[in-house]
Every structure is written in structure tokens, then in C-alpha cells.
């Protein structure tokens, strides 16, 4: 083996430092916080908040120094206030995020007292908390869905405010919900379980159904091929299912399943709760064999989750035409509970 000379070692070290120093210096605050929480093994909330505050201070100081050194003092009063305001908001957001993580953890553990504490700490309305806590842990029967509903969703899949839009992935928890809407929650870390609690309490009587798990940034049975991960992903679904059912037990709550022959059975097998219906994705053509699709999910209520969901817009089908009318008729006759048309 070739012997490395001393000067080569020095060169390598310099190169590594050249790569590492900017990477560290430019790391976003979120990454720095995560890295410190891991490296310092911060378990308690107090330790986590301390790290968060320290990291925020680092950013505030850097910005202030730059501004002070370049601009006259009287001009910088407002920027500093803004920085300070931003840091307060960021701190609040991070605290909320930690509370949200803890809230989900306590929900899973069935620790309603601590879950309640999380909500109270964030000043969630007492009535909302009471409704949730009263409903948690109760047995809920599967909702019998007898009617068929047609939904329309924008291609962005989040709410665009169009008059005929009645299905969307909830991104703004303060949005105005219309009667009969279908709300969809994804279960990634971006989803805020605490805000979902408030959203559900506020809109429970307007919503016609809820779907849990949509896309999920790859945590679905289309992209995730490792079956051993399904149980964990389904636990995330269960958090949101519990919230929805605790607040409105008779509201139909479904989960998403991609029609993927080699994963869909394992996906559903990993689900620990009794969902009311399945929103079947990966079926997007009006001419699909809906009878056979129904046969593949015996004794389940199905909704076609993404009709017309084409990447290639030239493949888009006509809404309301003969093929569409026949499609709705067929689904109704076969006993499906709905269809989401991607506009």
C-alpha cells in the first residue's frame, strides 16, 4: 500500500476543513437544532428549548452585527425589531413543533392527561380540549356509508378557492370549509396534529368525510416497498384517525391506498384501526375495470381517489361527458362511496 506523505495528510485535512466549515456555518437553523438535540442527547423539553433559544440567538447576533457595521444606528432600529420579532415567532413555532411531537407521542401512549397538558400549554380552547379528551379511547363502530359523493380537487391538491372545489389536502387550518367538503390530512411531520384537533372541532358538522394519508412524501404503498416500515407509517395514520373519531365518531374517515398489486395487501394488513372506507389511488382512467378493482378489496367501501390524475396533461379526460357520466353510474351501481376528480 502506498505510504501517505505528511504534506498529503495536511492537504487532506485542509480540504476537509474547507468543506466542513462552510457547511457547518451555513447550516439552516432547523438542521443545527436537530444536530444538537441528537449530539447532546437532549431528551427533556427544557433542554430542547434551551438549544433552540441558543441557536436563535446565534442567528440574531450575526444579522445584527452585519447591519450595525454597515448602516447608521438610527436606521437599524426597525430591522432589529423585525429580527427580534422573527426570532420570537420562530421560537414560538419551534415550541409548537415540539409540543406537537409530544402531543402525538402522548396520544399513542394513551396518556390523555399529558396530551391535554400539551394543548393547554398552547392555549387551545377548553371546549376543543374537552371534546377531544372525552372522545379519545372510545370504541367507534365502522360508519355505514350509503350515499355516493362526487368530489373535485384542484391539481395543486391544496385549496385554491374555486367554487366547485370540495376536496383538498388541508394546508391552512384556518380556511373556511363549505358544507359537504372532503378534508384530507397527510401524516408527515409537516402535519400539525394540534391544529387538526382545532380544525376538526370547528368544521366537524360541515365535513362529509376525511381521508388520512395522502402522498405522505413517499410514505405510501406506492413508493415505500419495505413492508417492515408499514406498521410505523400506519401508527402515524392512527394519530389522526384517533383525533377525527374522538371529535366526530360518525364522520366517515378513510385511508389512502395505491392500487399496487405487490404492496397493497401488506399495506392494509398493517393498519391497526377500522377505517370506514378506502380511497384508492393509482386508478385514473374512466375506462378502468372498476368491478375487478372492487373485487380486489372484498367487503370494503371504496372511493376512487385520483380520477384524472395524469402527469401528462394531454391525457386529461372530459369532466361531465358521456364517459364521465357512465363512470359515475358504474361506481354507484357497484357500491362505491365516492370519486375525487382531479381538475
Amino acid at each position: 500500500m502506498k505510504r501517505i506523505k505528511r504534506c498529503e495528510v495536511v492537504l487532506i485535512v485542509i480540504l476537509l476543513l474547507a468543506i466542513a466549515i462552510p457547511a457547518f456555518a451555513e447550516a439552516p437553523i432547523g438542521e443545527r437544532i436537530d444536530a444538537r438535540i441528537l449530539s447532546e442527547k437532549a431528551i427533556t423539553d427544557t433542554a430542547k428549548v434551551k438549544i433552540v433559544e441558543e441557536e436563535i440567538q446565534k442567528d440574531v447576533i450575526v444579522v445584527s452585527v452585519i447591519v450595525v457595521s454597515v448602516i447608521v444606528v438610527s436606521v437599524i432600529e426597525i430591522p432589529i425589531t423585525e429580527v427580534s420579532d422573527s426570532s420570537r415567532k420562530l421560537r414560538k413555532a419551534v415550541q409548537h413543533n415540539i409540543a406537537n411531537t409530544n402531543f402525538k407521542k402522548y396520544l399513542r401512549e394513551g396518556n390523555t392527561a399529558m396530551a391535554q397538558n400539551c394543548l393547554q400549554a398552547l392555549e387551545v380552547d377548553n371546549d376543543v380540549i374537552k371534546t377531544l379528551i372525552t372522545g379519545l379511547g372510545k370504541e367507534v363502530p365502522i360508519v355505514k356509508i350509503n350515499d355516493f359523493r362526487e368530489y373535485k380537487m384542484c391539481r395543486s391538491q391544496t385549496y385554491e378557492g374555486e367554487s366547485d372545489e370540495n376536496a383538498y389536502v388541508v394546508s391552512d387550518y384556518d380556511m373556511i370549509v363549505k358544507v359537504g367538503d372532503l378534508a384530507i390530512f397527510n401524516i408527515t411531520k409537516w402535519s400539525d396534529a394540534i391544529r387538526v384537533v382545532e380544525f376538526m372541532k370547528k368544521n366537524k358538522d360541515k365535513l362529509s368525510a376525511v381521508i388520512i394519508g395522502w402522498g405522505n412524501k413517499g410514505e405510501n404503498n406506492f413508493y415505500a416497498l419495505d413492508f417492515s416500515k408499514y406498521e410505523g407509517i400506519m401508527k402515524n395514520h392512527e394519530d389522526f384517525f384517533s383525533i377525527c373519531k374522538a371529535i366526530k365518531p360518525d364522520l366517515p374517515v378513510g385511508i389512502c391506498v395505491a392500487y399496487k398489486d405487490n404492496t397493497m395487501r401488506q399495506w392494509l394488513k398493517a393498519c391497526p384501526f377500522n377505517y370506514d372506507f378506502l380511497a384508492v389511488f393509482n386508478i385514473n382512467k374512466l375506462g378502468a375495470n372498476f368491478e375487478k378493482i372492487q373485487d380486489r378489496f372484498p367487503n370494503q367501501k371504496l372511493m376512487i381517489g385520483g380520477m384524472n390524475a395524469f402527469d401528462d396533461l394531454s391525457l386529461k379526460q372530459e369532466y361531465g361527458g358521456t364517459a364521465y357520466v357512465n363512470y359515475i353510474k358504474e361506481l354507484t351501481e357497484l357500491g362505491y362511496c365516492g370519486s375525487i376528480w382531479i381538475k
Partner: protein, 165 residues
Amino acid sequence: MQLKSLLISFGLVLITTTLLAWVGSDPTIRIVSPDAVGDADTLAVPLNIKVIQINTAQGIDDAEYWLIEEADGDTYISAAEWDTKTVIPYTGATIEDVNREASFVIAELGTDQLGQDSSYYIVGVGKDLNGDFSADTTLIHEVSMDGDANIADSAIVRFTLEDTR
């Protein structure tokens, strides 16, 4: 806009963007015997036609297979040859709901269907539950035994009859 709202919006854009790509199918029709990749089998009758139909995504609704006699000695299915195609296994029925890695026999062809020293093609096309086909049959004429962008090599086979048993 608060940073958190911004992060959530950004996250949701990422999540929902990937969702529309969350559609796909990978139907495969493979004619195992005669060998569709080698396209050089010289066989005797009766011969079994063995295939694999697999689609890990949108499943297999049904599949159709056609027998075409080679008329001009080349390795292409001409439009005229394609017009003479007959459905295997001659019942007019499609082969439904078979979606698996294991091969299976779809027909045994004898002297009623095959002539001595003649060459033939077999073409297979599958349909998934979404209503998509593994190949467009309107584009199959003038296709080589090696397939093309429309139909895979494994779904089109050319073979020659050696002798009657």
C-alpha cells in the same frame, strides 16, 4: 407569513407535487416458449405456448395473444400479415386475471393451426385494471421480431415449425 406556515406550505407543495406522479403501471407480457428474445426456435408440433403476465402496479385485467403466419420470409410483421392474425387459443376469450411471476400454458398448437416448415409470430398484449394496454395494437404492423418502442421484445416471438410429430 410566519416561518412555520411557510415551512408547512413548502412541505405540502413537495408532498402534493409527488402525489400526481403517484400513478404508474409496469405491465409485462413475456412469451417464454417459444423463446421471444432469441426468436430462433425451430419446433415440432404439438407445441405449448407458455407465457408470463405480470404487473406489480395496476394488475392484469386480461391479455390477448395472436398467431400470425410469416408470408414473405423476413423478420417483420407486415400490415398484410397482421391482417391474417388469429386469436390464441381460438376461443375468442381473453386470458383474465392472471398476474404472477410463474409461467403458464395458454394453448397447445397442433397441425390444425401450424403448417410444416412455416414460420410464425405470436404477439401478446396485456391490459391492466386502469384500462391501459402493454402495447398499442394499431401500431403493431411493420414491427420486427425484436419489438420496438411500442411492444417489448419479450411480447413478440418468431419461430419455425420443424416437422409434424
